[in-house]
């Protein structure tokens, strides 16, 4: 079976479209709502969903996602419960690519081999682990390689990655996630001063789609860079929108459709 992310990326490429990716913390406000929101987003045509596994010490996240994680943990969300949720989502026939955004301690604590197997059997398509840089990936990558249908470990690059880019991209699959600014998630749309130069460098080196995330709110924010990037990720702003609309599926769908349309406007 082909990986859902790669399948989606290939389809987008064929019709010359850009990808829109959202992030939401699993279990916010509860897992039942998370499931509903996955379905609603899929219906609205979302390309990939990042599902945050809450962790007590989210050092790569700004206040919005920190608070979302904290609340979700207070609500009793655990990795084990999110695996069950994934099984339900896939059983209901949902085929949207889903990426877990999580911290390495959660993986390590679960057990690396078991984690790879569980991801494969629950239909998790990708992993974003912001505190697992290239140098520390070997152990997990080996476990993923050994398991048929295991998720892709999505590679992140930053504005200061520079000479590290070729190394990071060498075996990268799915898409590459370009962090738009230094620091944590949820800043303003003040991207790094060398953003264009940096993204161009990644784009030149990458043979997979280039996504940009951190600080993005509207399609307008990435308009000036639309000739280089293949898609955008919205996280903190999406959480704010969820909260403001009281997790209303209609509002979410409206936002996604609008963003996708504008993102793909010439």
């Amino acid at each position: 079976m082909m990986n859902r992310i790669e399948e989606k990326m290939a389809a987008l490429k064929q019709c010359g479209k850009k990808a829109f990716i959202t992030y939401m913390t699993a279990g916010l406000p509860d897992l039942e709502k998370t499931k509903e929101l996955v379905f609603a987003q899929e219906q609205a045509g979302i390309d990939v969903i990042e599902l945050g596994i809450p962790f007590s010490d989210p050092v790569a996240d700004g206040p919005v996602i920190q608070n979302a994680s904290y609340e979700s943990i207070q609500n009793g969300t655990t990795l084990v419960k999110v695996f069950s949720l994934m099984q339900e989502i896939r059983k209901s026939g949902s085929n949207v690519p889903i990426v877990f955004m999580m911290y390495y301690n959660t993986v390590f604590h679960y057990g690396i081999k078991d984690f790879a197997e569980q991801c494969a059997s629950c239909g998790v398509d990708g992993l974003i682990i912001p505190d697992l840089p290239y140098e520390e990936q070997q152990e997990l990558q080996e476990a993923l390689n050994e398991k048929e249908g295991a998720p892709i470990l999505i590679q992140l690059v930053s504005p200061v990655s520079k000479q590290r880019i070729p190394m990071i991209l060498e075996h990268a699959r799915g898409f590459v996630y370009c962090v738009s600014q230094m620091g944590v998630t949820g800043g303003s749309a003040q991207f790094h001063k060398n953003i264009r130069e940096y993204l161009s460098e990644v784009k030149k080196a990458a043979n997979i789609p280039v996504m940009m995330g951190f600080g993005i709110r509207t399609a307008d924010d990435v308009k000036p860079l639309s000739d280089i990037i293949d898609g955008a990720v919205v996280g903190s702003h999406f959480i704010n929108l969820l909260r403001k609309s009281n997790y209303d599926s209609g509002e979410v769908q409206k936002y996604i459709k609008e963003f996708k349309m504008q993102l793909n406007m010439e």
Binding site: D57, A60, P63, N105, F108
Partner: protein
């Protein structure tokens, strides 16, 4: 069980660099600058100059005659409490801040729990004219008002951290976040032997002076090596400094004393190694307090300086390899030892250091009179007088 990594970023299977991609080049630059500096005689000369003229080294290796006669073995105290700012923390701050200057950084940031490392960093920043921001949990700010004021007197900005548990672990998270954003002009001075490589190594090298002096001093006084050295372990900076020059002396037992809080069985403790769960936090793989779903648990100790849910990766390695022994003592045992040192020797120790003493007194009873123990008296107790008073009055101090 754990994969042995032949990698200078690791101590056995512990350590590494579990940080965001944005920080990898920063760490690589830091490592290169550090390796270059410690090989540069000019840098070493400068570091030693400030330790001598500003910090007041060397510190005495004091023979605690009254305690020794009462308990058995000969007890020597390495008097880090006599350093400027009252603890060993300044040794490391001087080293790191000189390195920061050498790298052309103009700002420093630090995390602090009880405020000792924050005060030491603010002191160094004042001395070297650097802009200084200290991250401190809102809970800790409330508990340590005087240290907050000290830092402000020294010209530092103290930024309250209200996320998570609003204590040291969260202050560290916030310092890491800020660092990831501003590494270009900002140096992160980590106060303990923790964090991503090369921090644990760097902190060890800048605290090594403790054992270098102690070894020379004991050879002068006794003509032989000690039978054991002991120190308290939170993140593990004074202990790794106390161990450093004795690690390759197999006849010397190395003993680290963690904070047992109200007792390991109560779950209210700060002994990361007692239960032996490995994980990753603050850039390193090490022993951590964590719950069943892999979230980091809060540490509990009467001593704010030991109140940390992890431990430095080299300690984790020294434990697993059997080279060092790690034990814990409870709040109550530490407080008894603290009062004992006040009354027997006229020294008010920090509550952190009193943990080491509590275990040393237990050991001394079981040892012959000619055996020698060196204990690192890592800090003085002035900062703790209020806590001691509350404890003796029977108030809740373990929060």
């Amino acid at each position: 069980m754990m994969q042995e990594k032949k990698d200078n970023r690791y101590y056995g299977g512990f350590g590494g660099q579990y940080v965001s991609e944005s920080l990898m080049n920063v760490l690589n630059e830091l490592e290169a600058a550090f390796e270059d500096a410690i090989k540069d005689p000019e840098f070493i000369k400068q570091y030693q100059y400030y330790l001598r003229e500003y910090v007041g080294r060397e510190t005495p290796l004091y023979y605690a005659r009254n305690l020794s006669e009462k308990y058995g073995a000969k007890i020597y105290l390495k008097r880090e409490d006599l350093n400027h700012t009252g603890a060993h923390k300044i040794n490391n701050v001087i080293g790191q801040i000189l390195l920061a200057k050498r790298m052309g950084k103009t700002k420093v940031i630090a995390e602090t729990g009880a405020g000792q490392h924050g005060v030491a960093t603010a002191t160094g920043a004042a001395l070297f004219n650097m802009e200084c921001t200290v991250y401190m949990g809102a809970e800790d700010i409330e508990r340590q008002k005087l240290n907050v004021f000290r830092m402000e007197m020294l010209g530092a900005t103290v930024t309250p951290v209200t996320t998570g548990s609003a204590t040291l672990k969260d202050a560290t998270n916030e310092a890491i976040r800020t660092w990831a954003e501003r590494a270009e002009d900002t140096f992160y001075i980590i106060g303990s032997a923790v964090g991503p490589h090369p921090y644990p190594k760097m902190v060890k090298e800048f605290q090594r002076i403790i054992s270098t002096e102690a070894k020379r001093q004991i050879l002068e006084k006794e003509g032989r090596l000690p039978d054991a050295v002991a120190a308290c372990v939170g993140g593990g900076s004074n202990s790794i400094g106390m161990f450093a020059d004795f690690i390759d002396e197999p006849s010397v037992r190395l003993i680290g004393v963690e904070a047992g809080g109200l007792g390991i069985e109560t779950g209210m403790h700060a002994s990361a190694m007692a239960l032996g769960k490995i994980g990753t936090l603050h850039g390193m793989k090490t022993y951590l307090l964590q719950d069943d779903s892999g979230n980091i648990q809060l540490a509990h100790s009467i001593s704010a300086g030991l109140d940390y849910p992890g431990v430095g990766p080299e300690h984790a390695y020294l434990r697993d390899s059997g080279r060092a022994e790690y034990v814990f003592v409870t709040d109550a045992e530490a407080m008894d030892a603290l009062m004992e040192l006040c009354r027997e020797e006229g020294i008010i120790p920090a509550i952190e250091s009193a943990h080491a003493l509590a275990h040393v007194l237990k050991m001394a009873k079981e040892m012959d009179k000619d055996k020698i123990i060196i204990m690192c008296l890592s800090g003085r107790g002035d900062k703790d007088v209020h806590t001691v008073q509350k404890y003796l009055d029977g108030e809740e101090t373990n929060k």
